[in-house]
């Protein structure tokens, strides 16, 4: 069971309550939430916020593929996953991504959560433009997309 969505920050906010509602089930004994937020300092530059850009349809496809891969690579069959990532401007301290991973046992849930965020970093076409206190901004260097 997978919920995958891009959230336009100008219209909506990422909300962990949605993840809790989606993952609520008596089948699972462990739920891990990973919440990514915008931090205020990067490479000695004071950050005010980040604008996220994404190729939405390809990002959703990558989330679906990562979910499927978790089955073959981690051998976790009974699970529910909630992934939402922001697109648009996000201020410091605000959330950019929520990953909720629900499994029968805690080992599986921890592994699944970590697997998903690491794969998102490598496979989901999302980009960050950082904004600084001196009113400058800069696209961050990323990594080449992996298949």
């Amino acid at each position: 069971m997978l919920h995958a969505k891009i959230i336009d920050s100008s219209k909506e906010k990422i909300d962990i309550l949605k993840a809790e509602k989606f993952l609520s089930s008596s089948n699972f004994g462990a739920i891990i939430y990973f919440v990514g937020t915008v931090r205020d300092l990067n490479e000695n530059k004071k950050v005010t916020g980040i604008t996220y850009d994404s190729r939405d349809t390809m990002v959703i496809k990558s989330f679906e593929e990562i979910y499927k891969e978790s089955e073959t690579k981690l051998k976790i069959k009974d699970k529910a996953v909630f992934i939402e990532h922001v697109k648009g401007y996000v201020a410091v301290k605000e959330k950019s991504i929520i990953i909720g991973a629900a499994c029968k046992h805690r080992d599986e849930a921890y592994n699944l959560s970590r697997f998903i965020i690491e794969e998102v970093k490598k496979k989901s076409p999302i980009w960050k433009k950082e904004h600084y206190t001196n009113e400058e901004s800069e696209w961050l260097k990323g990594v080449s997309i992996q298949l």
Binding site: P125, I126, W127, K129
Partner: protein, 89 residues
């Protein structure tokens, strides 16, 4: 023939429209499009080396979001996307 390149991430600095259009020869490949973009940077951005490196390190995708190789041949009016290095989360 005309092809459209949809821009993402840092490549959006290449155009306010978020896309570039090129007139290319029939049977042109992604490799040829890369050359067109590099020539565009040479003309419009005084050969900005950072932008050129960005293009060199970018992948390309088809309209149905599949990553396509440098030898991929394009059709008339085809849209492709440029995928510069990523970094979500």
């Amino acid at each position: 023939m005309k092809v459209t390149v949809e821009l993402h991430g840092a490549t959006k600095d290449l155009s306010k429209n978020n896309f570039l259009e090129f007139e290319i020869k029939k049977n042109s490949s992604i490799k040829d499009i890369k050359i067109e973009i590099l020539e565009f940077i040479e003309k419009k951005f005084k050969g900005n080396q950072n932008l050129k490196k960005l293009i060199e390190s970018s992948a390309f995708c088809s309209e149905d979001d599949e990553i396509i190789s440098e030898n991929y041949k394009m059709n008339e009016n085809q849209k492709i996307g440029i995928i510069p290095p990523i970094g979500g989360g």
